[in-house]
Protein backbone atom coordinates (compact mmCIF):
# COMPACT_ATOMS: atom_id res chain seq x y z
CA UNK A 1 0.00 0.00 0.00
CA UNK A 2 2.68 2.43 1.01
CA UNK A 3 4.26 1.80 -2.37
CA UNK A 4 1.21 3.18 -4.17
CA UNK A 5 1.09 6.10 -1.82
CA UNK A 6 4.69 6.85 -2.54
CA UNK A 7 3.99 6.90 -6.24
CA UNK A 8 1.13 9.32 -5.97
CA UNK A 9 2.92 11.49 -3.50
CA UNK A 10 5.83 11.94 -5.84
CA UNK A 11 3.23 12.01 -8.57
CA UNK A 12 2.14 15.53 -7.81
CA UNK A 13 4.59 16.61 -10.45
CA UNK A 14 3.21 13.97 -12.78
CA UNK A 15 -0.30 15.26 -12.26
CA UNK A 16 0.89 18.73 -13.05
CA UNK A 17 2.54 17.54 -16.25
CA UNK A 18 -0.63 15.74 -17.31
CA UNK A 19 -2.66 18.89 -16.74
CA UNK A 20 -0.16 21.09 -18.49
CA UNK A 21 -0.14 18.60 -21.38
CA UNK A 22 -3.89 19.00 -21.80
CA UNK A 23 -3.53 22.75 -21.80
CA UNK A 24 -0.73 22.54 -24.32
CA UNK A 25 -2.77 20.43 -26.73
CA UNK A 26 -5.75 22.78 -26.50
CA UNK A 27 -3.64 25.73 -27.45
CA UNK A 28 -1.76 23.81 -30.10
CA UNK A 29 -5.01 23.13 -31.95
CA UNK A 30 -5.33 26.83 -32.63
CA UNK A 31 -1.64 27.24 -33.38
CA UNK A 32 -1.72 24.32 -35.79
CA UNK A 33 -4.60 25.74 -37.74
CA UNK A 34 -3.04 29.15 -37.94
CA UNK A 35 0.24 27.70 -39.15
CA UNK A 36 -1.40 25.50 -41.75
CA UNK A 37 -3.66 28.28 -42.87
CA UNK A 38 -0.73 30.65 -43.05
CA UNK A 39 -0.36 30.66 -46.84
CA UNK A 40 -3.89 32.00 -46.83
CA UNK A 41 -2.92 35.02 -44.80
CA UNK A 42 0.07 35.81 -46.95
CA UNK A 43 -0.82 34.89 -50.52
CA UNK A 44 -4.45 35.91 -50.46
CA UNK A 45 -5.62 38.57 -48.16
CA UNK A 46 -7.57 37.05 -45.32
CA UNK A 47 -10.32 39.62 -45.55
CA UNK A 48 -11.01 38.51 -49.12
CA UNK A 49 -11.50 34.95 -47.89
CA UNK A 50 -13.94 36.21 -45.32
CA UNK A 51 -15.97 38.38 -47.67
CA UNK A 52 -15.86 36.77 -51.09
CA UNK A 53 -18.15 34.22 -52.67
CA UNK A 54 -17.14 30.64 -53.24
CA UNK A 55 -16.50 29.98 -56.94
CA UNK A 56 -13.26 28.03 -57.41
CA UNK A 57 -13.85 27.80 -61.17
CA UNK A 58 -13.52 31.55 -61.33
CA UNK A 59 -10.81 31.86 -58.70
CA UNK A 60 -12.97 32.99 -55.80
CA UNK A 61 -12.32 31.15 -52.59
CA UNK A 62 -14.40 33.16 -50.15
CA UNK A 63 -16.19 31.48 -47.28
CA UNK A 64 -18.61 34.32 -46.65
CA UNK A 65 -21.66 32.34 -47.83
CA UNK A 66 -20.76 29.60 -45.34
CA UNK A 67 -20.50 32.08 -42.49
CA UNK A 68 -23.97 33.32 -43.47
CA UNK A 69 -25.22 29.76 -43.71
CA UNK A 70 -23.87 28.85 -40.30
CA UNK A 71 -25.34 31.92 -38.65
CA UNK A 72 -28.69 31.46 -40.37
CA UNK A 73 -29.04 27.85 -39.24
CA UNK A 74 -27.82 28.53 -35.71
CA UNK A 75 -30.06 31.57 -35.24
CA UNK A 76 -33.16 29.86 -36.55
CA UNK A 77 -32.54 26.75 -34.48
CA UNK A 78 -32.15 28.89 -31.35
CA UNK A 79 -35.32 30.80 -32.14
CA UNK A 80 -37.15 27.49 -32.42
CA UNK A 81 -35.49 25.72 -29.53
CA UNK A 82 -35.60 28.49 -26.94
CA UNK A 83 -39.37 28.73 -26.48
CA UNK A 84 -39.65 24.97 -26.84
CA UNK A 85 -37.11 24.45 -24.09
CA UNK A 86 -38.58 27.08 -21.83
CA UNK A 87 -42.01 25.54 -22.22
CA UNK A 88 -40.73 22.10 -21.39
CA UNK A 89 -38.70 23.32 -18.43
CA UNK A 90 -41.81 25.04 -17.07
CA UNK A 91 -43.79 21.86 -17.63
CA UNK A 92 -41.22 19.77 -15.80
CA UNK A 93 -40.60 22.06 -12.89
CA UNK A 94 -43.94 23.76 -12.40
CA UNK A 95 -46.92 22.45 -14.25
CA UNK A 96 -46.92 18.69 -14.52
CA UNK A 97 -47.84 16.36 -11.68
CA UNK A 98 -44.74 14.62 -10.26
CA UNK A 99 -45.05 11.36 -12.18
CA UNK A 100 -45.53 13.03 -15.54
CA UNK A 101 -42.80 15.56 -14.80
CA UNK A 102 -40.39 12.78 -13.94
CA UNK A 103 -41.28 10.99 -17.15
CA UNK A 104 -40.72 14.09 -19.29
CA UNK A 105 -37.47 14.78 -17.46
CA UNK A 106 -36.31 11.23 -18.19
CA UNK A 107 -37.20 11.55 -21.85
CA UNK A 108 -35.25 14.80 -22.08
CA UNK A 109 -32.24 13.21 -20.40
CA UNK A 110 -32.47 10.30 -22.79
CA UNK A 111 -32.54 12.72 -25.71
CA UNK A 112 -29.09 13.98 -24.81
CA UNK A 113 -27.92 10.48 -25.66
CA UNK A 114 -29.31 10.39 -29.19
CA UNK A 115 -26.38 10.50 -31.63
CA UNK A 116 -26.28 13.47 -33.99
CA UNK A 117 -25.91 11.27 -37.02
CA UNK A 118 -29.26 9.69 -36.19
CA UNK A 119 -30.99 13.05 -36.27
CA UNK A 120 -29.43 13.53 -39.69
CA UNK A 121 -30.43 10.07 -40.84
CA UNK A 122 -34.05 10.41 -39.82
CA UNK A 123 -34.02 13.96 -41.14
CA UNK A 124 -33.13 12.83 -44.64
CA UNK A 125 -35.89 10.26 -44.84
CA UNK A 126 -38.61 11.91 -42.80
CA UNK A 127 -38.19 15.67 -42.58
CA UNK A 128 -36.62 16.60 -45.91
CA UNK A 129 -39.36 15.10 -48.10
CA UNK A 130 -41.93 16.69 -45.80
CA UNK A 131 -40.38 20.15 -46.09
CA UNK A 132 -40.05 19.73 -49.85
CA UNK A 133 -43.71 18.84 -50.37
CA UNK A 134 -45.16 21.11 -47.70
CA UNK A 135 -43.38 24.29 -48.66
CA UNK A 136 -43.16 23.42 -52.31
CA UNK A 137 -39.82 25.03 -52.86
CA UNK A 138 -36.81 23.27 -54.19
CA UNK A 139 -35.23 20.24 -52.65
CA UNK A 140 -36.31 20.27 -49.03
CA UNK A 141 -32.65 20.37 -48.08
CA UNK A 142 -32.64 23.79 -46.53
CA UNK A 143 -31.89 26.07 -43.63
CA UNK A 144 -35.30 25.22 -42.26
CA UNK A 145 -34.79 21.45 -42.27
CA UNK A 146 -31.39 21.70 -40.64
CA UNK A 147 -32.60 24.22 -38.07
CA UNK A 148 -35.57 22.06 -37.11
CA UNK A 149 -33.34 19.07 -36.45
CA UNK A 150 -30.73 21.19 -34.75
CA UNK A 151 -33.42 22.64 -32.49
CA UNK A 152 -34.26 19.12 -31.44
CA UNK A 153 -30.57 18.41 -30.83
CA UNK A 154 -29.95 21.42 -28.62
CA UNK A 155 -33.25 21.52 -26.73
CA UNK A 156 -32.38 18.84 -24.15
CA UNK A 157 -29.27 20.74 -23.10
CA UNK A 158 -31.29 23.90 -22.64
CA UNK A 159 -34.19 22.20 -20.89
CA UNK A 160 -31.91 20.49 -18.38
CA UNK A 161 -30.06 23.72 -17.60
CA UNK A 162 -33.35 25.63 -17.27
CA UNK A 163 -34.81 23.02 -14.95
CA UNK A 164 -31.62 23.05 -12.89
CA UNK A 165 -31.71 26.79 -12.55
CA UNK A 166 -35.41 26.76 -11.65
CA UNK A 167 -34.61 24.20 -8.99
CA UNK A 168 -31.82 26.41 -7.67
CA UNK A 169 -34.31 29.11 -6.69
CA UNK A 170 -34.66 29.01 -2.87
CA UNK A 171 -37.82 27.37 -1.61
CA UNK A 172 -38.29 30.27 0.82
CA UNK A 173 -38.75 32.65 -2.07
CA UNK A 174 -41.23 30.36 -3.74
CA UNK A 175 -43.19 30.22 -0.49
CA UNK A 176 -43.05 33.97 -0.15
CA UNK A 177 -44.66 34.47 -3.55
CA UNK A 178 -47.19 31.72 -2.89
CA UNK A 179 -48.13 33.30 0.45
CA UNK A 180 -48.72 36.59 -1.34
CA UNK A 181 -51.25 34.89 -3.53
CA UNK A 182 -49.12 34.51 -6.63
CA UNK A 183 -50.43 31.93 -9.07
CA UNK A 184 -48.28 29.82 -11.34
CA UNK A 185 -48.04 32.38 -14.08
CA UNK A 186 -47.09 35.09 -11.64
CA UNK A 187 -44.52 32.89 -9.95
CA UNK A 188 -43.02 32.30 -13.36
CA UNK A 189 -42.94 35.95 -14.37
CA UNK A 190 -41.92 37.49 -11.08
CA UNK A 191 -39.76 34.79 -9.57
CA UNK A 192 -38.58 31.98 -11.81
CA UNK A 193 -37.67 33.87 -14.97
CA UNK A 194 -35.80 36.72 -13.27
CA UNK A 195 -34.29 34.36 -10.70
CA UNK A 196 -33.08 31.95 -13.35
CA UNK A 197 -31.75 34.68 -15.67
CA UNK A 198 -28.19 33.48 -15.49
CA UNK A 199 -29.22 29.88 -15.86
CA UNK A 200 -31.27 30.73 -18.91
CA UNK A 201 -28.39 32.64 -20.43
CA UNK A 202 -26.06 29.75 -19.64
CA UNK A 203 -28.39 27.30 -21.32
CA UNK A 204 -28.66 29.53 -24.36
CA UNK A 205 -24.89 29.89 -24.67
CA UNK A 206 -24.27 26.17 -24.23
CA UNK A 207 -26.88 25.43 -26.85
CA UNK A 208 -25.39 28.00 -29.20
CA UNK A 209 -22.03 26.28 -28.84
CA UNK A 210 -23.51 22.91 -29.67
CA UNK A 211 -25.39 24.32 -32.64
CA UNK A 212 -22.30 26.08 -33.99
CA UNK A 213 -20.18 22.98 -33.63
CA UNK A 214 -22.57 20.52 -35.19
CA UNK A 215 -21.40 19.01 -38.45
CA UNK A 216 -23.52 16.01 -39.29
CA UNK A 217 -26.98 17.55 -39.37
CA UNK A 218 -25.90 20.43 -41.57
CA UNK A 219 -23.85 18.15 -43.80
CA UNK A 220 -26.71 15.70 -44.23
CA UNK A 221 -29.77 17.91 -44.61
CA UNK A 222 -28.72 21.51 -45.32
CA UNK A 223 -27.84 20.77 -48.94
CA UNK A 224 -24.31 22.18 -48.97
CA UNK A 225 -24.95 24.65 -51.78
CA UNK A 226 -22.31 27.32 -52.08
CA UNK A 227 -24.60 30.26 -52.77
CA UNK A 228 -25.55 32.85 -50.20
CA UNK A 229 -28.96 32.00 -48.80
CA UNK A 230 -31.86 34.30 -49.56
CA UNK A 231 -34.69 32.46 -47.88
CA UNK A 232 -35.18 29.87 -45.19
CA UNK A 233 -35.88 27.30 -47.85
CA UNK A 234 -32.53 27.79 -49.58
CA UNK A 235 -29.87 25.13 -49.28
CA UNK A 236 -26.73 26.32 -47.52
CA UNK A 237 -23.34 25.07 -46.48
CA UNK A 238 -22.07 25.62 -42.94
CA UNK A 239 -18.45 26.14 -41.95
CA UNK A 240 -18.36 22.71 -40.39
CA UNK A 241 -19.84 21.03 -43.45
CA UNK A 242 -17.34 22.90 -45.61
CA UNK A 243 -14.50 21.35 -43.65
CA UNK A 244 -16.01 17.89 -44.01
CA UNK A 245 -16.57 18.32 -47.77
CA UNK A 246 -13.40 20.04 -48.85
CA UNK A 247 -11.06 18.04 -46.69
CA UNK A 248 -11.24 15.55 -49.56
CA UNK A 249 -9.66 18.11 -51.87
CA UNK A 250 -6.10 18.42 -53.06
CA UNK A 251 -3.95 19.29 -50.02
CA UNK A 252 -1.92 21.95 -51.79
CA UNK A 253 -4.83 23.87 -53.24
CA UNK A 254 -6.24 27.13 -51.91
CA UNK A 255 -9.55 25.35 -51.49
CA UNK A 256 -7.98 23.06 -48.95
CA UNK A 257 -6.41 25.95 -47.11
CA UNK A 258 -9.79 27.61 -46.65
CA UNK A 259 -10.89 24.87 -44.29
CA UNK A 260 -8.32 26.14 -41.83
CA UNK A 261 -9.93 29.55 -42.04
CA UNK A 262 -13.22 27.82 -41.19
CA UNK A 263 -11.52 26.00 -38.34
CA UNK A 264 -10.06 29.20 -36.94
CA UNK A 265 -13.40 31.00 -37.10
CA UNK A 266 -15.21 28.13 -35.38
CA UNK A 267 -12.51 27.91 -32.72
CA UNK A 268 -12.68 31.63 -32.01
CA UNK A 269 -16.49 31.66 -31.91
CA UNK A 270 -16.73 28.79 -29.47
CA UNK A 271 -13.88 30.22 -27.40
CA UNK A 272 -15.79 33.51 -27.11
CA UNK A 273 -18.86 31.61 -25.94
CA UNK A 274 -16.82 29.70 -23.38
CA UNK A 275 -15.25 32.87 -22.06
CA UNK A 276 -18.64 34.56 -21.78
CA UNK A 277 -19.97 31.57 -19.89
CA UNK A 278 -16.96 31.59 -17.65
CA UNK A 279 -17.53 35.13 -16.55
CA UNK A 280 -21.21 34.74 -15.88
CA UNK A 281 -21.80 34.78 -12.13
CA UNK A 282 -23.61 31.54 -11.76
CA UNK A 283 -22.39 30.02 -8.53
CA UNK A 284 -24.31 26.92 -7.54
CA UNK A 285 -25.50 26.23 -11.00
CA UNK A 286 -22.03 25.84 -12.34
CA UNK A 287 -21.02 22.81 -10.38
CA UNK A 288 -24.35 21.23 -11.19
CA UNK A 289 -23.72 21.94 -14.82
CA UNK A 290 -20.29 20.45 -14.86
CA UNK A 291 -21.52 17.31 -13.31
CA UNK A 292 -24.17 16.19 -15.67
CA UNK A 293 -24.49 18.31 -18.73
CA UNK A 294 -22.49 19.14 -21.72
Amino acid sequence: MSGTLQVVFSGRRLLFLVTAGGVFVTLSILVFMIVLGLPLFTSNSFSLILTQDWAPDRGFFGIFPFICGTLAIVTLSLLLAFPLSLGNAVLIHLLLPPVAAKFLHRVVKMMTGIPTVIYGFVGIFLLVPFVREWFDSGSGMSILSAALLLALLISPTMILVFVESFAAIPKSQVRAVAALGGNLRQKLIYLYLPGAQNGILTGLLLATGRALGDTMIALMVAGNATAQPESLLDPVRTLTAHIALVMAADFDSIEFKTIFACGIILYLWTATLTLTLRFLPYGVLKSRLNRGLS
Binding site: T19, G22, M110
Partner: protein
Protein backbone atom coordinates in the same frame (compact mmCIF):
# COMPACT_ATOMS: atom_id res chain seq x y z
CA UNK B 1 -58.19 38.67 -18.29
CA UNK B 2 -55.74 36.99 -15.96
CA UNK B 3 -57.51 33.75 -16.56
CA UNK B 4 -56.91 34.12 -20.27
CA UNK B 5 -53.18 34.59 -19.72
CA UNK B 6 -53.08 31.59 -17.42
CA UNK B 7 -54.78 29.42 -19.99
CA UNK B 8 -52.41 30.71 -22.62
CA UNK B 9 -49.45 29.73 -20.46
CA UNK B 10 -50.76 26.24 -19.80
CA UNK B 11 -51.69 25.81 -23.41
CA UNK B 12 -48.38 26.91 -24.88
CA UNK B 13 -46.33 24.93 -22.36
CA UNK B 14 -48.47 21.91 -23.13
CA UNK B 15 -47.88 22.41 -26.84
CA UNK B 16 -44.13 22.57 -26.22
CA UNK B 17 -44.25 19.31 -24.32
CA UNK B 18 -46.32 17.62 -26.98
CA UNK B 19 -44.01 18.87 -29.73
CA UNK B 20 -40.95 17.52 -27.97
CA UNK B 21 -42.50 14.18 -27.08
CA UNK B 22 -43.99 13.95 -30.56
CA UNK B 23 -40.61 14.56 -32.17
CA UNK B 24 -38.89 11.98 -30.00
CA UNK B 25 -41.66 9.48 -30.54
CA UNK B 26 -41.57 10.15 -34.28
CA UNK B 27 -37.84 9.70 -34.42
CA UNK B 28 -37.65 6.51 -32.39
CA UNK B 29 -40.84 5.14 -33.87
CA UNK B 30 -39.59 5.71 -37.39
CA UNK B 31 -36.31 3.94 -36.62
CA UNK B 32 -38.05 1.08 -34.82
CA UNK B 33 -40.56 0.66 -37.62
CA UNK B 34 -37.87 0.34 -40.27
CA UNK B 35 -35.09 -1.05 -38.14
CA UNK B 36 -36.70 -3.74 -36.01
CA UNK B 37 -37.53 -6.11 -38.89
CA UNK B 38 -33.85 -6.26 -39.91
CA UNK B 39 -32.49 -6.58 -36.40
CA UNK B 40 -30.91 -10.03 -36.29
CA UNK B 41 -27.75 -11.98 -36.91
CA UNK B 42 -27.98 -11.29 -40.62
CA UNK B 43 -27.71 -7.57 -40.00
CA UNK B 44 -24.35 -8.08 -38.37
CA UNK B 45 -22.89 -10.99 -40.28
CA UNK B 46 -24.57 -10.83 -43.67
CA UNK B 47 -25.09 -14.15 -45.37
CA UNK B 48 -22.72 -16.10 -43.14
CA UNK B 49 -23.89 -19.24 -41.40
CA UNK B 50 -23.79 -19.72 -37.64
CA UNK B 51 -20.65 -21.83 -37.86
CA UNK B 52 -18.90 -19.17 -39.87
CA UNK B 53 -19.88 -16.50 -37.36
CA UNK B 54 -17.68 -18.23 -34.81
CA UNK B 55 -14.86 -17.94 -37.32
CA UNK B 56 -15.60 -14.25 -37.68
CA UNK B 57 -15.21 -13.67 -33.99
CA UNK B 58 -11.79 -15.31 -34.13
CA UNK B 59 -10.85 -13.27 -37.19
CA UNK B 60 -10.75 -16.34 -39.41
CA UNK B 61 -13.58 -15.21 -41.60
CA UNK B 62 -14.43 -11.85 -43.06
CA UNK B 63 -17.79 -10.15 -43.02
CA UNK B 64 -18.42 -8.23 -46.21
CA UNK B 65 -22.07 -7.29 -46.03
CA UNK B 66 -22.77 -6.90 -42.35
CA UNK B 67 -22.38 -4.44 -39.52
CA UNK B 68 -19.91 -6.56 -37.57
CA UNK B 69 -16.72 -4.75 -38.63
CA UNK B 70 -18.37 -1.42 -37.90
CA UNK B 71 -19.44 -2.56 -34.45
CA UNK B 72 -15.95 -3.84 -33.71
CA UNK B 73 -14.46 -0.63 -35.08
CA UNK B 74 -16.65 1.50 -32.83
CA UNK B 75 -15.78 -0.62 -29.79
CA UNK B 76 -12.07 -0.33 -30.58
CA UNK B 77 -12.43 3.43 -31.00
CA UNK B 78 -14.15 3.78 -27.64
CA UNK B 79 -11.50 1.59 -26.05
CA UNK B 80 -8.67 3.57 -27.61
CA UNK B 81 -10.15 6.93 -26.72
CA UNK B 82 -10.94 5.97 -23.17
CA UNK B 83 -7.70 4.21 -22.38
CA UNK B 84 -5.87 7.35 -23.45
CA UNK B 85 -8.18 9.96 -22.00
CA UNK B 86 -9.07 8.29 -18.71
CA UNK B 87 -5.65 8.43 -17.01
CA UNK B 88 -5.08 11.93 -18.34
CA UNK B 89 -8.53 13.12 -17.37
CA UNK B 90 -8.35 11.63 -13.90
CA UNK B 91 -4.87 13.02 -13.35
CA UNK B 92 -5.76 16.51 -14.49
CA UNK B 93 -9.05 16.43 -12.58
CA UNK B 94 -7.32 15.41 -9.35
CA UNK B 95 -4.64 18.01 -9.87
CA UNK B 96 -7.15 20.79 -10.47
CA UNK B 97 -9.34 19.83 -7.54
CA UNK B 98 -6.75 19.01 -4.91
CA UNK B 99 -3.43 20.59 -5.79
CA UNK B 100 -3.76 23.53 -8.13
CA UNK B 101 -4.63 26.86 -6.66
CA UNK B 102 -4.97 30.48 -7.52
CA UNK B 103 -4.23 31.64 -11.03
CA UNK B 104 -2.93 28.31 -12.28
CA UNK B 105 -6.22 26.67 -11.43
CA UNK B 106 -8.29 29.36 -13.11
CA UNK B 107 -6.14 29.28 -16.19
CA UNK B 108 -6.01 25.51 -16.49
CA UNK B 109 -9.68 24.94 -15.97
CA UNK B 110 -10.45 27.71 -18.41
CA UNK B 111 -8.37 25.93 -21.03
CA UNK B 112 -10.24 22.68 -20.50
CA UNK B 113 -13.48 24.59 -20.84
CA UNK B 114 -12.17 25.96 -24.13
CA UNK B 115 -11.31 22.45 -25.28
CA UNK B 116 -14.78 21.26 -24.34
CA UNK B 117 -16.24 23.93 -26.58
CA UNK B 118 -14.14 23.17 -29.66
CA UNK B 119 -16.38 21.63 -32.34
CA UNK B 120 -15.59 18.00 -33.03
CA UNK B 121 -14.91 18.68 -36.71
CA UNK B 122 -12.17 21.10 -35.68
CA UNK B 123 -10.63 18.40 -33.49
CA UNK B 124 -10.86 16.04 -36.44
CA UNK B 125 -9.20 18.65 -38.62
CA UNK B 126 -6.44 18.93 -36.04
CA UNK B 127 -5.93 15.16 -36.00
CA UNK B 128 -5.94 15.07 -39.78
CA UNK B 129 -3.44 17.88 -40.26
CA UNK B 130 -1.23 16.45 -37.53
CA UNK B 131 -1.22 13.18 -39.47
CA UNK B 132 -0.35 14.95 -42.70
CA UNK B 133 2.48 16.70 -40.94
CA UNK B 134 3.76 13.52 -39.33
CA UNK B 135 3.37 11.66 -42.60
CA UNK B 136 5.88 13.97 -44.19
CA UNK B 137 8.34 13.08 -41.43
CA UNK B 138 7.59 9.36 -41.11
CA UNK B 139 6.05 8.23 -44.34
CA UNK B 140 4.45 5.14 -42.83
CA UNK B 141 1.85 7.04 -40.81
CA UNK B 142 -1.51 7.52 -42.48
CA UNK B 143 -4.97 8.32 -41.09
CA UNK B 144 -5.83 5.24 -39.05
CA UNK B 145 -7.40 3.82 -35.94
CA UNK B 146 -4.65 5.22 -33.76
CA UNK B 147 -5.14 8.77 -34.97
CA UNK B 148 -8.91 8.56 -34.64
CA UNK B 149 -8.63 7.10 -31.17
CA UNK B 150 -6.28 9.85 -30.04
CA UNK B 151 -8.42 12.57 -31.58
CA UNK B 152 -11.49 11.18 -29.85
CA UNK B 153 -9.53 11.06 -26.62
CA UNK B 154 -8.95 14.77 -27.06
CA UNK B 155 -12.68 15.22 -27.63
CA UNK B 156 -13.71 13.47 -24.41
CA UNK B 157 -10.81 14.60 -22.23
CA UNK B 158 -12.50 17.78 -20.94
CA UNK B 159 -15.59 15.81 -19.85
CA UNK B 160 -13.43 13.51 -17.78
CA UNK B 161 -11.41 16.36 -16.30
CA UNK B 162 -14.48 18.36 -15.39
CA UNK B 163 -16.45 15.50 -13.87
CA UNK B 164 -13.46 14.33 -11.84
CA UNK B 165 -12.72 17.83 -10.68
CA UNK B 166 -16.28 18.69 -9.65
CA UNK B 167 -16.87 15.28 -8.10
CA UNK B 168 -13.89 15.90 -5.85
CA UNK B 169 -14.68 19.54 -5.16
CA UNK B 170 -18.25 18.73 -4.21
CA UNK B 171 -17.10 16.49 -1.38
CA UNK B 172 -17.54 18.17 1.99
CA UNK B 173 -14.40 19.58 3.58
CA UNK B 174 -15.22 17.64 6.71
CA UNK B 175 -14.13 14.52 4.83
CA UNK B 176 -10.69 15.98 4.22
CA UNK B 177 -10.48 17.20 7.80
CA UNK B 178 -11.50 13.83 9.19
CA UNK B 179 -8.92 12.04 7.10
CA UNK B 180 -6.28 14.56 8.07
CA UNK B 181 -7.19 14.19 11.74
CA UNK B 182 -6.57 10.46 11.38
CA UNK B 183 -3.07 11.28 10.29
CA UNK B 184 -3.47 10.60 6.55
CA UNK B 185 -1.19 12.32 4.11
CA UNK B 186 -2.74 14.27 1.28
CA UNK B 187 -2.05 11.53 -1.25
CA UNK B 188 -3.53 8.92 1.07
CA UNK B 189 -6.56 11.10 1.65
CA UNK B 190 -7.08 11.35 -2.08
CA UNK B 191 -6.67 7.67 -2.83
CA UNK B 192 -8.36 6.12 0.18
CA UNK B 193 -11.01 8.64 1.11
CA UNK B 194 -11.82 11.15 -1.60
CA UNK B 195 -11.62 9.10 -4.78
CA UNK B 196 -13.92 6.31 -3.53
CA UNK B 197 -16.43 8.93 -2.45
CA UNK B 198 -16.15 10.76 -5.75
CA UNK B 199 -16.32 7.62 -7.85
CA UNK B 200 -20.03 7.83 -8.71
CA UNK B 201 -19.48 11.32 -10.11
CA UNK B 202 -16.40 10.26 -12.01
CA UNK B 203 -18.24 7.23 -13.31
CA UNK B 204 -20.97 9.34 -14.83
CA UNK B 205 -18.28 11.33 -16.61
CA UNK B 206 -16.81 8.12 -18.00
CA UNK B 207 -20.16 7.01 -19.32
CA UNK B 208 -20.70 10.38 -20.91
CA UNK B 209 -17.29 10.07 -22.53
CA UNK B 210 -18.06 6.59 -23.87
CA UNK B 211 -21.27 7.88 -25.36
CA UNK B 212 -19.52 10.80 -27.03
CA UNK B 213 -16.75 8.62 -28.42
CA UNK B 214 -19.23 6.08 -29.76
CA UNK B 215 -21.49 8.57 -31.51
CA UNK B 216 -19.10 11.12 -32.91
CA UNK B 217 -18.87 11.10 -36.66
CA UNK B 218 -17.11 14.32 -37.56
CA UNK B 219 -13.81 13.44 -35.89
CA UNK B 220 -13.43 9.99 -37.40
CA UNK B 221 -14.60 11.14 -40.80
CA UNK B 222 -11.41 13.14 -41.10
CA UNK B 223 -9.06 10.72 -39.42
CA UNK B 224 -9.29 7.32 -41.01
CA UNK B 225 -12.73 5.77 -41.07
CA UNK B 226 -13.68 4.19 -44.42
CA UNK B 227 -16.73 2.53 -45.88
CA UNK B 228 -15.16 -0.90 -46.34
CA UNK B 229 -12.17 -2.12 -44.43
CA UNK B 230 -13.02 -5.19 -42.39
CA UNK B 231 -11.75 -5.56 -38.88
CA UNK B 232 -8.50 -3.67 -38.32
CA UNK B 233 -5.51 -5.87 -37.56
CA UNK B 234 -3.40 -3.13 -36.08
CA UNK B 235 -3.62 0.39 -34.80
CA UNK B 236 -2.31 1.64 -38.11
CA UNK B 237 -5.16 0.23 -40.18
CA UNK B 238 -8.24 1.92 -41.53
CA UNK B 239 -11.46 0.77 -39.93
CA UNK B 240 -15.23 0.96 -40.13
CA UNK B 241 -17.49 2.52 -37.50
CA UNK B 242 -21.22 2.56 -36.84
CA UNK B 243 -21.91 6.30 -37.00
CA UNK B 244 -19.96 6.66 -40.22
CA UNK B 245 -21.75 3.63 -41.66
CA UNK B 246 -25.05 5.36 -40.94
CA UNK B 247 -23.89 8.62 -42.51
CA UNK B 248 -22.49 6.80 -45.53
CA UNK B 249 -25.62 4.75 -46.08
CA UNK B 250 -27.89 7.74 -45.69
CA UNK B 251 -26.18 9.61 -48.48
CA UNK B 252 -25.35 6.82 -50.90
CA UNK B 253 -27.20 3.60 -50.48
CA UNK B 254 -27.70 1.95 -53.83
CA UNK B 255 -30.53 -0.46 -53.12
CA UNK B 256 -33.25 -1.32 -50.65
CA UNK B 257 -31.05 -3.83 -48.87
CA UNK B 258 -28.37 -1.26 -48.09
CA UNK B 259 -31.01 1.17 -46.88
CA UNK B 260 -32.40 -1.49 -44.55
CA UNK B 261 -28.90 -2.11 -43.23
CA UNK B 262 -28.64 1.62 -42.59
CA UNK B 263 -31.85 1.62 -40.58
CA UNK B 264 -30.62 -1.40 -38.67
CA UNK B 265 -27.32 0.34 -37.93
CA UNK B 266 -29.09 3.52 -36.80
CA UNK B 267 -31.31 1.53 -34.48
CA UNK B 268 -28.34 -0.38 -33.04
CA UNK B 269 -26.42 2.84 -32.40
CA UNK B 270 -29.48 4.50 -30.89
CA UNK B 271 -30.04 1.57 -28.56
CA UNK B 272 -26.39 1.51 -27.50
CA UNK B 273 -26.24 5.24 -26.79
CA UNK B 274 -29.58 5.47 -25.02
CA UNK B 275 -28.78 2.45 -22.88
CA UNK B 276 -25.44 3.98 -21.99
CA UNK B 277 -26.97 7.29 -20.99
CA UNK B 278 -29.99 6.02 -19.10
CA UNK B 279 -28.29 2.99 -17.62
CA UNK B 280 -25.51 5.16 -16.28
CA UNK B 281 -27.62 6.58 -13.47
CA UNK B 282 -28.66 3.11 -12.37
CA UNK B 283 -25.18 1.63 -12.33
CA UNK B 284 -23.93 4.77 -10.72
CA UNK B 285 -26.23 4.36 -7.74
CA UNK B 286 -25.39 0.69 -7.39
CA UNK B 287 -21.68 1.22 -7.77
CA UNK B 288 -21.51 3.86 -5.09
CA UNK B 289 -23.56 1.72 -2.72
CA UNK B 290 -21.30 -1.28 -3.20
CA UNK B 291 -18.23 0.80 -2.83
CA UNK B 292 -19.26 2.54 0.34
CA UNK B 293 -21.29 -0.03 2.22
CA UNK B 294 -20.67 -3.45 0.80
CA UNK B 295 -16.98 -3.92 1.45
CA UNK B 296 -15.64 -7.40 1.62
Amino acid sequence: MNRVYDCLLYFSAGICGLLLLGAVAGLTGFLLWHGLPVLGLELFFGSLKIGEIVDVIFLQQVVVDGLWPAVVGTCLLVLMALSTALPLGLGAGIYLAEYAGGKAKTLFSLTFDLLAGVPSIVIGLFGFSLTLYLHRQFSSLTPCLLISGLSLALLVLPYLVRTTQTALEDLPDSLRLTAAALGAEKSATIILVLLPQALPGIFSGVVLAIGRAAEDTAVIMLTGVVATAGIPRSLFDNYEALPFYIFYTASQFSDQHELQQGFGAALVLLIICVLLFTGAGLIRKKASYRLLYHSK
